[in-house]
Amino acid sequence: MSHAKAQSKSVLWDWLTTVDHKKVGILYLAAGAFFFALGGLEAILMRIQLMFPEFTFLPAQTFNELLTMHGTTMIFLAAMPLLFGLMNYIVPLQIGARDVAFPFLNALGFWLFLFGGILLNVSWFAGGAPDAGWTAYVPLSSESPGTGIDYYVLGLQISGAGTLIGGINFLVTIINMRAPGMSMMRMPLFTWSTFVASMLILFAFPALTIGLLLLMLERIFGATYFAVDFGGNVIIWQHLFWIFGHPEVYILVLPAFGIFSEIISTFSKKRLFGYSAMVFATLIIGFLGFMVWAHHMFTVGMGPVANSIFAVATMAIAVPTGIKIFNWLLTLWGGRIQFTTANLFALGFIPSFVMGGVTGVMLATSAANYQFHDTYFVVAHFHYVIIGGVVLGLFAGAFYWWPRIFGYKLNETLGKIFFWMFLFGFHLTFFVQHFLGLIGMPRRVASFLGGQGLDEMNLISTIGAFFMGVAFILFVVNIFVSMKNKETTGDPWDGRTLEWTIPSPTPEYNFAQTPLVRDVDALWYEKYEGDGKMKAAEPLGDIHMPNGSFLPFIISLGLFIASFGFIYHLWALAIAGMVVVFGAMFVRSVKEDHGYHIPKEDILNAKGGK
């Protein structure tokens, strides 16, 4: 297929078949933003229900469905895909690559995630969403009537497969596709954290896969792993879930850490303080992340030795995390700090996240955890780390990379209003929840009784949530009103890393010539030690590009269809779906596709005929 022909296809078809990491990245961002709004809406509904004691805005069953879907949606369908969107777009640019290692699989990963997410949400219209919490503890989940949990199991299984594929893709991309001179220890921190997060994905998701497989076999085929009457054990699920679940929270937060590292260093105009310490801290957090999962299970009766070991191991994570916090502070130290919106989010992150982190250490105190566990104290903790860490990171990244990705700058004034309102709402919502938990409010309660001292703080919390909601709408408005602020320099922030070396909008082949990297912060180095221009590592030549493919969409669709077969025991449908899946995979492996080349002349033209 020639280049010209590829361009003449319809826009919709182009997006459905794209394997360009930038477009896949944008797809991830769009879908993730949609699910974020959805999960946020679910949160707002929950908060309305909890506004007054014994409020009857929602039935208890609906509340349980909302809380399950809120947690599941936010973690799997909003936070992770949004991060994946940024990673997809930015990481290849940061390492000077023209593409990811597996463009086809990259697209497949996205479509699997999207269809999994849609499947999960179909449950709302099919007799009720899952209602056992995002952790789906058995036997509540394994014996839950209705099909909600089946949607949970299959939806997560499919989107989880997408995530795993994405993780492997990033790993190989980062190892094999770096530009000459870009050694591992010259990689920008966002790339590093993507790398470590991908390792976590690789090792954490299989445990979830097995957990979900067991739950599916138990529910659909009558297996008895969790059925106590047949000798089953319900703790197995908790282990499998948390062996995945704890690393998962670092999968979320590490890339956010990476984003902050980029932004803080850019806007204090300083090289990141303690680069190698930052890298090692990230690796250590990643490693320790696998050794602490049972801190979610202190009260299930593992015994004091196990509890003590996991408590101490958990506390240890504070050390590398602290190293990172102090390195950021010292990066700011002596810098020239610019308060752009992106940087405001990064600066808002530091105190917010530290507050969430230290309550994490309090939770890790096993003997005290018996009081904290499953109360609003935990809810406060994890929203502090997730919103204070991940969500602020996503917004910071959005403002920072928006001009790179969409070719225009978001309005700074609106952005700052958005920031302050969101930050204020966030602390208002969740700060009081610490105390709610301590004075006796369990989590996952559909309502609470009056006269127990819980009323005022719940109301405050709900008001805070409204602030966040309105702030988010401001952000959406900002996206539309700013469209005219075209950004054409390609380097609006006086950037330091390779993604700012290319013109805006980003050409589909990224780099006309693969750059030669001579230091950490490659662009900054050329600006201040060289002549301001990147050196090329190769002569200008034809550029090879992969062809688009509709198969990722088909494969995911096939799984989507098959899932209904499994949920409703319509075996013919299940088989039909799987035939589509394997058929598409077969076509893929049998049909060789070697892509096409963009001729040198086109690239020269795009560069202005230089």
Binding site: G274, G335, M362
Partner: protein, 335 residues
């Protein structure tokens, strides 16, 4: 002055505890277990406040001192790092964590020590969706919803579940442990003072999870002994009142309710009602009023969705009155 500074967070806590209910708050411990846990919470909180203060101080200083001023275009020095600093901020957190970890490990073991002693008593707690059953093996009795314990006595608690996972939490007396089907967990509590301590289920267990409340009622030892002895009196040996309403109520009860609700401290499919007359709430949370009792019997599902009791819509108003009177007469402590 220094001393006052240390007290500050404590007084903050007391203030908050005032917000909540004394017998529901982990911040106002009423027994040795909760006290131990509260002291750990305080210790960890002091450490965390120290960390937060240090971080915030540097943070605020940096933001003020190094903010970009109008017209400033200088390029800051590109510092690579600093070995000494790295060591310092690795070592200090490790030290702080040790201060927390050591007492934590010790207390984790103390709390896990559930060996019965000479004068301890044992209660086997079985959680059901959505009510609690308390079996006293030493006394051969079963009680529902209200867990009576003697004051100043070590109470060993064995936790089980008859369906899904629940979790047993009485914040003022002790942190929680889970009721896991198929396993037995144990913990201990002790209440030095007489009092009613609110308890809650803290593991999502279905639509009425939020209503799965219970009470721990600590009474003097002799009161407890009386209670236990009276609980154990078989129904037929009980003095029966001759009032007409109560007789009608008892008859109805025996026809419709006894199959699930024992009145002899022996337990059954539903909560034992031997001492229902001494409850302060109905079904764990409703105000103890005639109307509520009647509403409950008529339609328990709308009050506590998903619970195990069927509706009795066919009782007449009179029958309900009789049943209610009878239920209210079921007492073991006062006559």
């Amino acid at each position: 002055m220094k001393y006052l500074w240390r007290l500050l967070p404590l007084s903050f806590f007391l203030l908050l505890a005032g917000c909540g209910q004394q017998n529901l708050s982990a911040l106002d411990p009423q027994g040795p277990v909760a006290e131990m846990q509260f002291s750990l919470i305080r210790l960890s909180l002091y450490i965390m406040i120290f960390v937060i203060v240090v971080v915030f101080a540097i943070y605020v200083f940096v933001l003020i001192r190094f903010r970009e001023r109008p017209g400033d275009t200088h390029i800051p020095k590109q510092v690579h790092g600093n070995k000494v600093l790295e060591v310092v901020w690795t070592a200090i957190p490790i030290f702080l964590l040790l201060i927390l970890a050591v007492p934590n490990v010790m207390e984790t073991f103390t709390l896990a020590d559930t060996e019965p002693t000479e004068d301890s008593i044992t209660v086997n707690v079985t959680a059901h969706a959505f009510w609690w059953e308390f079996e006293y093996p030493d006394y051969d009795i079963v009680a529902g919803q209200d867990m009576y314990i003697p004051t100043n006595t070590r109470v060993i608690i064995n936790l089980e579940s008859s369906d899904v996972i629940h979790s047993f939490w009485v914040p003022a007396l002790a942190g929680k442990q889970d009721n896991v089907p198929g396993n037995v967990n144990d913990m201990w509590i002790e209440a030095p003072k007489e009092g009613v301590y609110l308890g809650k289920c803290t593991e999502l267990c279905g639509p009425s999870h939020w209503l799965m409340d219970f009470k721990v009622i600590a009474v003097e030892t002799d009161v407890f002994e009386t209670w236990a002895a009276n609980m154990a009196v078989p129904a037929e040996e009980k003095e029966q009142s001759e009032s007409e309403v109560l007789v009608e109520g008892r008859t109805l009860y025996e026809q419709s309710c006894l199959q699930c609700h024992s009145i002899s401290g022996q337990g059954g499919f539903g909560p034992d009602l031997t001492n229902f007359g001494e409850r302060t709430v109905v079904a764990g949370y409703l105000k103890y009023e005639d109307e509520n009792i009647k509403d409950w019997i008529r339609d328990p599902q709308s009050l506590k969705p998903g619970n195990g009791m069927p509706a009795f819509p066919d009782f007449t108003e009179d029958e309900l009155d009789a049943l209610t009177e009878y239920l209210k007469s079921l007492k073991v402590l006062e006559e």
